[in-house]
Symmetry: C2
Subunit: 450 residues, 2 copies
């Protein structure tokens, strides 16, 4: 490597302090998922191409693999990188159905790849964090509530702006549209799904011109889409529109159960939002989207829903409900605005080095600290102590431990933030709880507009 390499567009990489934030976020997500009994799995990065291409919409984005030594005949290995975690999970469930216990709760936090044009919050390689519950043959509705609640609790614990889970139910939309006499609810859903990007008046026009609605139907469709409540009062608001249909009643009941079941989560909002449609996906009931306060331009950072047919082997069908968090989309964006950690190393203590001859003594102090679970490192060179303190400062290491000058003395521990220095017993000393791990911080510089 002879010159400085340049970053590859769409493949974000993190500096050590930023990566610390990501590992802390992954640890916190895992903690919450496991508290709720979700087991972790990883699937291989590749799937057979025919699996990846069975959803037409995303086929353009797939990266195909070829072994270099097969160059001559140009033959592909017949595999490509997965573009989400749902296709591999469905395959994993079918492949291992005989060895899994259902309902099967799993979480999966892995990289995925899409060859799409890189832009803000859209990458070619990024990490997703998915939870799903999948049943064999059937899956009780209460798992819809569970999945919403678990993800809301997980988001509430992260060092990110406040998240709002927006929940709807396809049965409400389809039932309402059918109750209005609309024959092709799918078409209407697809138009309503654009409400984020296109003004309501224009949507009303499109409903008439593209989806075959009457003016009255279009007005009612938009009235439904405007309903958004933090509790189950949306039921009365929908009923006030005077449309009735058995599927609508079923959807209202289901959504009310989810919203009621997600009350009282500290640090995240859960709302019924009747404009959410997830137009292009294969959901059959509950649908989820999520917005981040101050980062609405990112779109939904966490989406999912109920699908009655996650997978099928011809005999048995596996229904599921799940939700997928776009971890890189959130974190890389927030890091661009200053989210980082206050240390670039895990070390809590730098053990100073008086001279190269006494390295063994400094090593022994470090070994004692590690015996108490205190991450530390020994100064790489016997520079002047002022330089060693600067070494710690540059890395955000809060303490420097100076070896004793004479036998019988205790080493001195300096908190380089306050300048306080005390004698300690390295065999028993542990740092205050707030110094054990690097702290997540937001440099205020770029963050004022948020």
């Amino acid at each position: 490597m002879a010159a400085k390499p340049t970053p590859l567009s769409g493949y974000p990489e993190l500096l050590p302090a930023q990566r610390f934030v990501e590992t802390q976020v992954i640890a916190e997500l895992s903690r919450v998922f496991e508290l709720h009994g979700f087991a972790n799995i990883e699937t291989r990065a590749v799937e057979p191409l025919d699996q990846l291409l069975s959803k037409g919409e995303t086929s353009k984005e797939v990266y195909v693999l070829r072994r270099l030594q097969e160059e001559e005949d140009g033959k592909d290995a017949g595999i490509g990188l997965h573009f989400d975690l749902t296709v591999p999970f469905a395959r994993y469930v079918l492949e291992n159905a005989g060895k899994l216990d259902f309902p099967f709760r799993r979480y999966q936090i892995q990289k995925v790849w899409r060859g799409e044009r890189p832009q803000q919050g859209r990458f070619r390689e990024f990490t997703q964090a998915d939870i799903d519950v999948v049943g064999q043959g059937e899956l009780p509705f209460h798992h819809d509530i569970e999945v919403a609640r678990v993800m809301a609790e997980a988001l509430a614990g992260l060092p990110i702006p406040r998240a709002t889970l927006q929940i709807n139910n396809r049965k409400i939309l389809e039932g309402f549209y059918r109750g209005l006499g609309i024959e092709d609810p799918e078409n209407v859903m697809r138009v309503v799904d654009k409400l984020d990007k296109i003004p309501a008046e224009k949507i009303a026009e499109l409903l008439v011109t593209d989806a075959g609605s009457s003016q009255d139907q279009a007005r009612a469709v938009l009235a439904l889409a405007e309903i958004r409540t933090t509790d189950s009062s949306f039921v009365a608001a929908v009923e006030a529109l005077g449309v009735s249909h058995p599927l609508l009643a079923e959807g209202l009941d289901e959504l009310a159960q989810v919203i009621d079941g997600c009350q009282g989560i500290d640090g995240a909002d859960v709302v019924a939002d009747l404009r959410i449609a997830r137009g292009l996906d294969y959901y059959t009931g509950t649908v989820f989207e999520t917005r981040l306060a101050g980062y609405e331009q990112l779109g939904s950072i966490c989406s999912g829903g109920r699908y009655d047919r996650l997978a099928s082997d011809g005999k048995t069908t596996y229904p599921g409900v799940g939700i997928s968090l776009g971890l890189s989309r959130v974190l890389v964006t927030l890091m661009g605005d200053g989210l980082t950690a206050d240390r670039s190393v895990p070390s809590v203590v730098l053990v100073a080095l008086a001279d190269e001859e006494t390295r063994a003594a400094s090593d022994a102090l470090a070994t004692q600290l590690r015996g108490n679970g205190v991450p530390c490192e020994v100064a790489p060179m016997a520079q002047k102590f002022g330089k060693q303190i600067r070494y710690a400062e540059r890395r955000g290491i809060p303490y420097v431990l100076f070896p004793a000058n004479e036998a019988g003395e205790q080493p001195q521990l300096k908190d380089i933030r306050s300048g306080d220095q005390v004698a300690i017993d390295p065999a028993t000393w542990t740092p205050p709880e707030h110094d054990v791990r690097p702290k997540v911080s937001t440099s205020s510089s770029n963050n004022e507009e948020k």
Copy 2:
């Protein structure tokens, strides 16, 4: 997906209980690496092809990426999947040199891909765990000791057979060969490197026929290769062979420092083994290999060394010392022999469900348990309690909590292994420490020969 999919050869996947072992192993490795001040990073999965192909030896194994939509003109994206973590790390160091602090200690635990023919312990997708220390311009020798010690300590804490780190120093080999009057030490090293696979008599022949040695030189080369000590007594053993060279003396001193610095690690052996050569790699001093007791057929599971030129931007050179653990090679092999965990879910408690009408009460019990950090789940259906106990048993969940029948009563917690049942306060109960996490276990069935 209409039929049961079949596994893809060379792409091992784990069941949830096995994956638990892997996550525990990764957590333990990370804990030890961080105790020693190593920061975690991840690099993107892809590198430019010219980087990947700059090492001729591995070029055949690279997977090249192509975006499917570029199919028509058959153009590659110019990138491929990384086949190790060293090439990406060297690139990361150069790309971010201005933002990193040196010496830079990093660990990296990621998947890598190689298109080679799958066989025992050799996969097309597998996880490696690397630690390296890299300096800017220079890197003091004590980091060689550090890297050996950290990896030995990390291996000692894993649920795997006893590991033996075999350490040598290229300067010993080159100095000894030069002291013998051998002009091309590289050639001799390459032959000696085959001592694992080829009998010593045959190696002696090859040294004469292929590496241009005399019979006497070949004898001395083999005598050196036979030296293997658990302490620094190898120095005297080498000196007894009567060869001298300044480089040999330097190498002996370095290796003695590493071996002395790695004394007293519980649970792993560190030996000086003068046959270790790492023939095909670009090491310049210390070299490491590692064997696992009872699994010698896997070859070295953990290898590395000192390279004076990990990377260079033309002006500055970055020397490094590092070691790479083939995590999948070890774990997938051990799992084939029965290594797993005693639970397929993280749940410690299954909260039983009397009937569907009281689900909210069971949910509330689960919420109380989670408030104490106790992973748990609520029974998915209100089956007979016997069936609910079976549900827990199948998953390895040790406890079932039965809601109180009447207000004022406490719920009853049953340890389904012993059958013991006691009333508990779910707001304060926590499990015994040994039940908090699934336990790693080895089913004895396939493991008797080890």
